[in-house]
């Protein structure tokens, strides 16, 4: 990983935790307000490929962790960014009323990822043009990918309440 990038990251932003777990990997922990400016900083440095936006539910700590994975396409003039290296940008947000600014203005392919996280975790992305359902067909009290959503219990309650075929006849 490029040493100059790590230095300029820590000098440009306060309160970043930068780690290098592997030679070709950089993990950056940023506060919620800094996410957009860090993403735009990295994009300006040639890291123009957003792989994914993910979300992890740390229920016991009362937080969601949003994860942005970035790398470089390596087609730009600036050859400092190596396409074989990934940057993982993480931010923690509270589980109560989780909101974060949408990153669509920087990366267009963030749109379906944010839509999915809104649907499955209940995180609101400010400025997202369509936070409509993507996969699910029913309404859930708890967004189903949260850790306190019990899939087995839900299946038992929901599908167990449908009477088996032919049961009405037996009662007669």
């Amino acid at each position: 990983m490029d040493r100059a990038l790590i230095d300029s990251l820590s000098s440009t932003f306060d309160a970043l935790r930068v780690e290098v777990p592997r030679e070709d990997r950089l993990t950056v922990q940023a506060p919620r307000d800094a996410v957009m400016s860090v993403l735009s900083f990295l994009k300006g440095r040639g890291y123009d490929h957003l792989h994914m936006v993910s979300c992890v539910d740390w229920m016991e700590e009362g937080q969601f962790e949003l994860v942005y994975v970035l790398s470089a396409y390596g087609t730009g003039q600036d050859s400092a960014s190596n396409p074989g290296e990934e940057i993982i940008l993480k931010t923690r947000i509270p589980r109560e009323l989780p909101t974060v600014v949408s990153s669509i203005s920087l990366f267009k392919n963030a749109e379906p990822y944010e839509r999915e996280i809104h649907e499955l975790f209940g995180v609101r992305f400010e400025g997202h043009p369509r936070l409509t359902p993507l996969f699910l067909e029913r309404d859930y009290e708890i967004p189903p990918f949260r850790k306190d959503f019990d899939t087995r219990q839900y299946v038992e309650d929901f599908f167990g309440s449908i009477p088996p075929v032919g049961e009405e006849d037996q009662d007669v």
Binding site: D24, R25, D48, H49, L50, H51, M52, S54, V56, D57, V67, V69, Y73, G74, T75, P83, G84, E86, I88, F107, K108, N109, E111, P112, Y113, P133, L134, F135, L136, E137, P144, F145, T151, R152
Partner: protein, 365 residues
């Protein structure tokens, strides 16, 4: 002219897979397209949080029905990287051969879907038949035809059976011998050119700002391939080329697929020549009591559709804490497809979708 709303799929002749697109059309021109997945959502990533590490292998296969093998690889390498397990060199070669064979099978299936959709039934039937020959090889090697569950942490499940290499080479030669026929019947056919050239065009800049990888990007002239930029398995052990094209339309994408198939077959021959002797797996702890150290990892590989990534988190327990796949069809089928369809004719919707190589189960997961 009046604007109409048109539902394209999930039950439509031009649609492959459980996927639908809501089109706004004016005459027969598409004004706006809304991709509409969710017909196949099984919540695999949530289910995987409730099963032990080893029991998740049958699940990851089913995320991409057409090419389950790169899913196995992504999951196995992620577990290896968390648990610190090494893979023997012979197993690395076998993995590469196995993945390239899977790529050939997947591309033949893609070729079937594409040529069938355009009405080239002969080429489609050939491709399906040749894919079946590849599946026979998989059956002999792994016991399964579609879902193989062959790669696992520490290596692969078993070594090549007696005489397998010979039969592998023979089968690939008999498929490769038909390339001139395919060319005459389909790839060099004027009708294919007329239907596909200039259709669903994406520029290089558009592909990159929408997260495109695989054929969608390589058809615009960018030789972006994870096997080259971050080599895994044995891809850095033999020389090979990344085929590209310049135009970024459906025609270029399908030609990239064709060239890639040929390159894969050549790569298998080179890998077979270089393959060392030795073990094919390293012992792992008892999988039923296996606890993986706390941590997180992101791994990626090149599936037949583009870049496949996996973000995996462990809390030190016997099950994954969070699994999230970055599947190539996700940006291709949602962001890029919605953009590429605008301004095209209704008759080309299926053409563009299949040339982008979208497979619905990968989006829904």
């Amino acid at each position: 002219m009046r604007e109409l709303e048109l539902y394209f799929g999930p039950q439509h002749l031009g649609m492959v897979g459980n996927f639908s697109i809501t089109l706004k059309v004016e005459g027969d021109r598409v004004v706006k397209a809304d991709a509409n997945p969710g017909y196949l959502h099984r919540g695999f990533e949530k289910l995987m949080e409730q099963r032990s590490w080893i029991k998740n292998f049958p699940m990851v296969c089913r995320i991409n029905v057409v090419e389950p093998d790169s899913m196995e690889l992504a999951y196995a390498t992620a577990v290896e990287s968390l648990a610190g397990i090494e893979v023997p060199e012979r197993a690395q070669f076998i993995r590469s051969i196995y993945l390239e064979l899977a790529r050939v099978g997947s591309h033949l299936f893609g070729l079937w879907a594409y040529s069938n959709m355009l009405g080239f039934d002969t080429a489609a039937q050939w491709a399906m038949y040749h894919r079946d020959l590849v599946l026979d090889l998989f059956e002999e090697l792994t016991g399964g035809r579609v879902y193989h569950i062959y790669i696992w942490p520490g290596g692969v499940r078993r070594d090549f059976p007696e005489g397998f290499e010979k039969r592998l080479v023979e089968t690939l030669h008999s498929i490769g011998g038909c390339v001139p026929d395919y060319d005459a019947c389909f790839f060099d056919n004027r009708l294919f050119y007329d239907r596909a050239a200039g259709i669903g065009k994406i520029t290089r800049e558009e592909a990159m700002e929408m997260g495109g990888t695989g054929q969608a990007l390589r058809a615009t002239g960018v030789p972006y391939d994870v096997r080259k930029i971050e080599p895994y398995a044995a891809y850095d052990k033999v020389p090979w080329e990344v085929p590209t094209r310049e135009d970024g339309d459906a025609f270029s994408r399908i030609w990239v697929v064709r060239d890639e198939m040929i390159e894969s077959v050549h790569m298998i021959f080179k890998l077979l020549d270089e393959m060392p002797k030795g073990d094919v797996y390293n012992r792992i702890p008892n999988p039923f009591k296996w606890r993986i150290p706390e941590g997180e990892t992101y791994v990626r590989c090149e599936s037949s559709r583009g870049e496949l990534g996996l973000y995996l988190v462990s809390d030190g327990g016997d099950k994954p804490y969070r699994v999230h796949f970055r599947t190539p069809s996700y940006p291709h089928g949602l962001t890029i497809l919605e953009k590429a369809l605008v301004g095209e004719s209704i008759s080309d919707v299926g053409n563009i979708m299949i040339s982008l190589y979208v497979v619905a189960p990968e989006i829904d997961r």
